[in-house]
């Protein structure tokens, strides 16, 4: 289930389950969104991105869904594996002008074998 820990919301799943991580972004003008995975002691690792002219984009085992009406982004991970355990951040920016990436607060995904 999903719970709010001391610092980060945490999603705990069993190996093989599908995981859905949600993110609410702040700027309705943002037109570019990225999901990053961050393991302990490492920098954020690019997973998948999506531009605002799309609602859905699929990668290998991952799918990003974008709902601009409610400013919501989700990351779906199929057949979650223990190696997927990490903190996941969504980030938004404005490519049509110039802006930097603004990161959300992050969700910790814990995958049990």
């Amino acid at each position: 289930g999903e719970s709010v820990g001391l610092h980060l919301p945490t999603l705990s799943v069993q190996e093989g389950d599908n995981s859905i991580i949600n993110c609410a972004y702040s700027n309705s003008a943002s037109d570019y969104f990225i999901w990053y995975k961050q393991e302990s002691g490492k920098g954020p690792q690019f997973i998948i991105d999506i531009r605002s002219n799309m609602d859905k984009r699929q990668g290998q085992r991952v799918t990003v869904l974008l709902n601009k009406t409610v400013k919501h982004l989700s990351l779906q991970i199929a057949a979650t594996q223990p190696g997927d355990s990490a903190v996941y951040f969504c980030a938004e920016s404005l490519l049509s002008g110039y802006s930097t990436l603004t990161f959300g607060k992050g969700t910790m995904l814990l995958v049990s074998p």
Binding site: L6, H7, L8, Y32, I34, Y36, G41, K42, G43, P44, Q45, F46, D49, F89, A91, S93, L95, Y98, T100, L101, T102, F103, G104, K105, G106
Partner: protein
């Protein structure tokens, strides 16, 4: 290596000491960003370079923070007279294109100010 490289990996400084953090971006990447990440938080923007030009430094928390990228490749983030609140992980990221699409991050420098 092919990724963004940062050094040192860890830095312990006494309060009041000056520190310099180095970033080697991916070769040929035009954009370079510095971010600060506090424990349990997402990275927060500090400054942005396009080649050697520092186009945005609006995220630098005070005038004790200074960044440079004199030849458009390696960048250094300098913090003068460090304070305890400067303790964080400092992340460098680079991108092939000017608008910062698909940023690739280094592993960061963990700065602890005692």
């Amino acid at each position: 290596g092919a990724g963004v490289s940062q050094s040192p990996r860890y830095k312990v400084a006494k309060r009041g000491q000056d520190v310099a953090l180095r970033c080697d971006p991916i070769s040929g990447h035009v954009s370079l960003f510095w971010y600060q990440q506090a424990l349990g938080q997402g990275p927060e923007f500090l400054t942005y370079f396009q080649n050697e030009a520092q186009l945005d430094k609006s995220g630098l928390p005070s005038d004790r923070f200074f960044a440079e990228r004199p030849e458009g490749s390696v960048s250094t983030l300098k913090i003068q007279r460090t304070q305890q609140e400067d303790s964080a992980v400092y992340l460098c990221a680079s991108s092939l294109v000017p608008d910062g699409e698909k940023l690739f991050f280094g592993s960061g420098t963990q700065l602890s100010v005692l």
